[in-house]
């Protein structure tokens, strides 16, 4: 097997995995597929760009800034846009979230136009490992994505807040009856997911180029990974991300690269027809 394709696939997977996990966290607590992820990631990328290139902050500071702003945006969007509509059908909320994604993306377009941009970082020579090339930024992305996945897993399993998130995702009414405040846990989940989306924006800006569509282009692979892993299962989302990331890269062997997006869809379609609950998800119990 071609090692370069494998490396590319891994980098691709590390762009997808953290936001796919964040997406399932949000889904667990909010109970609808929030497709505004694309808009959030775009906001993250451009906030980091603003801090890094316009304010001339170092990239690490700019990244933290982007994570904070995106967390705020995700939380505010829930309070202002989605929470008042919680009685609507999930599909209506899905359309609203896509509309909201378009609003965010076009707000960015309004201020920054569609020009292609990049971070202000020194160009570094790619590292060669057994003939496969990987840039230092890609290496950082790879390691950070892995660290985040492990960190989220630890938070969910061992911390008070993580258990509360799982409890709300499991049974929201019972969680409230046991004294958990839905408002605070929702806010906390939004902030955590938002920080991850912001970071993904920075990753994507490092690996690709910064433009308003940066988030939308990642939306389908992210959703595919989440579905593949079973919505609501962070570890599943990681495995899903690796499958989707690899599959997208390996497609290039057999099809023109423009068909890359279709692969994500085909994986989802075939998979859903065979196993609607995902790789790790529990079969849904009918009420």
């Amino acid at each position: 097997m071609n090692l370069q394709l494998f490396v590319n696939g891994l980098v691709n997977a590390s762009l997808i995995a953290p936001p796919a996990i964040a997406f399932t966290l949000l889904f667990g607590v909010l109970r609808f597929p929030n497709f505004a992820i694309g808009g959030y990631i775009t906001v993250g990328a451009f906030m980091a760009y603003t801090a890094n290139v316009i304010f001339a902050w170092p990239l690490v500071a700019a990244t933290l800034f982007a994570m904070a702003v995106t967390a705020l945006v995700v939380w505010l969007s829930d309070v202002v846009v989605f929470a008042p509509l919680r009685n609507q059908e999930p599909v209506t909320l899905l359309v609203v979230s896509i509309a909201f994604s378009l609003i965010l993306e076009n707000l960015v377009r309004l201020f920054f136009a569609s020009d292609v941009r990049g971070f202000d970082i020194p160009l570094e020579r790619p590292i060669k490992v057994m003939g496969a090339r990987i840039t230092p930024e890609q290496l950082d992305i790879l390691m950070l994505a892995f660290a985040i996945t492990v960190a989220v897993h630890v938070v969910l399993r061992f911390t008070r807040f993580g258990k509360a998130m799982r409890a709300v995702a499991d049974n929201p009414v019972l969680a409230q009856v046991r004294g958990l405040s839905l408002r605070w846990i929702t806010a906390g989940t939004c902030a955590l997911a938002g920080a991850i989306f912001g970071l993904t924006g920075v990753f994507a800006g490092l690996d690709l180029v910064i433009e308003p569509l940066i988030g939308w282009n990642l939306t389908i692979p992210i959703f595919a990974a989440a579905i593949l892993g079973g919505i609501g299962s962070p570890m599943g989302a990681l495995v899903g991300a690796i499958c989707v990331g690899m599959a997208e890269e390996l497609t290039i062997l057999v099809l023109p690269s423009t068909y890359k997006i279709a692969v994500g869809f085909l994986i989802i379609a075939v998979f859903l027809l065979l196993r609607p609950q995902g790789l790790f998800g529990q079969p849904e119990i009918k009420k």
Binding site: F32, P33, V81, P84, L85, N87, Q88, E89, P90, V91, T92, L94, V95, V96, I98, A99, F100, L102, I103, N106, L107, R109, L110, A113, S114, I220, F223, A224, I227, P256, T258, Y259, I261, A262, G264, F265, L266, I268, A269, L272, L273, P276, E284, K286
Partner: protein, 303 residues
């Protein structure tokens, strides 16, 4: 100015056709379709290729386009009719994107990103060139009226009641002995056919079609039309489609009278406006502008 209004009205007509079709699929059976652009493109390219490359009469080519939409709708529903809403959303979205990617890549047949030129037009030569747009508008209005009547007939017929039963509770509907999947396939196919017709009408109207028109965005706009207008209500969605299309196309007009506004900013502002419209409408009128008429049953009398 008149020409502009006629053209705007024609575009509103395309949107209305798509919205009527979506309302059949979602508003009346609860089946989600985010692949509207795929059906629209399928209709447009089927009719366009058949008439411009193979020389089929336009009327026949358009009929084949309708059949293509029907067949695609039936096939998609057959494969995924049992899926959950959010999953069906992604499968249909994928269908739309795959159709677009095929058009983009198989350029020996579709001309790919260069765009397909279609000289042929229906009823060409019946009226003078300057009056032709009016005739075409009439044709589109006729199509909308037929689709509307078909949809209303289905809504009022016993089948409409079955469809609502499916939407409200699949288990109940299937226990009642209704073949849920068969009805779903039938309705999804009819919806697909109407979308195919809309595509064909669009193709012969603009006479130059390219894949970048058939982005997933089309589905989002139609969804907004149906939700803003009021899901399940055929009058509401005509209003919704009108509002969304007028905002989309009508704001281009601002560019004509105020050329100093940057086109990119204008198009961004337009999309923001439509998004905000959707969200504000849902906050103020959760059932849409013209809600679905209530169907009384004995459980509702208590309230």
């Amino acid at each position: 100015m008149l020409a502009y209004i006629v053209s705007l009205a024609t575009f509103v007509g395309f949107f209305m056709l798509l919205a009527i079709a979506l309302n059949l699929q979602w508003g009346m059976t609860g089946m989600v379709n985010f692949g509207i652009a795929g059906f629209y493109a399928l209709g447009a390219y089927t009719s366009g290729i058949l008439s411009s490359k193979l020389g089929l009469p336009v009327g026949l080519a358009m009929m084949v386009a309708v059949l293509a939409g029907l067949a695609a709708g039936a096939a998609l529903a057959l494969l995924s009719g049992r899926l959950r809403d959010d999953y069906l959303a992604i499968v249909t979205l994928g269908f739309g994107e795959i159709v677009r990617l095929i058009i983009l890549n198989e350029d020996q047949i579709t001309e790919g990103p260069r765009g397909l030129r279609i000289a042929e037009q229906p009823l060409a030569g019946w009226v003078s060139v300057e009056n032709y747009p009016l005739l075409y508008l009439g044709l589109v209005v006729l199509a909308v009226a037929v689709a509307f009547a078909l949809s209303e007939t289905i809504r009022r017929a016993p089948m409409g009641r079955v469809l609502r039963a499916i939407r409200e509770d699949e288990l109940v509907a299937s226990v009642l002995g209704k073949a849920v999947l068969r009805h779903k396939i039938r309705i999804f196919a009819i919806g697909g056919g109407i979308m195919g017709l809309a595509g064909a009408l669009y193709a012969h109207y603009v006479q130059n079609i390219s894949p970048d028109v058939f982005l997933p965005m089309v589905a989002i706009f139609i969804w907004m039309s149906v939700i803003v207008g009021g899901a399940g209500n055929n009058w509401g969605l005509l209003l919704g489609a009108g509002i969304v299309m007028v905002l989309l196309e009508g704001s281009r007009f601002i560019g004509d009278i105020a050329p100093w506004i940057d086109a990119e900013k204008l198009s961004a502002g337009r999309i923001i406006l439509i998004g905000v419209l959707l969200i504000v409408t849902l906050h103020l009128r959760p059932q849409g502008l013209i809600p679905e008429p209530r169907y009384r049953n004995k459980f509702q009398r208590k309230s």
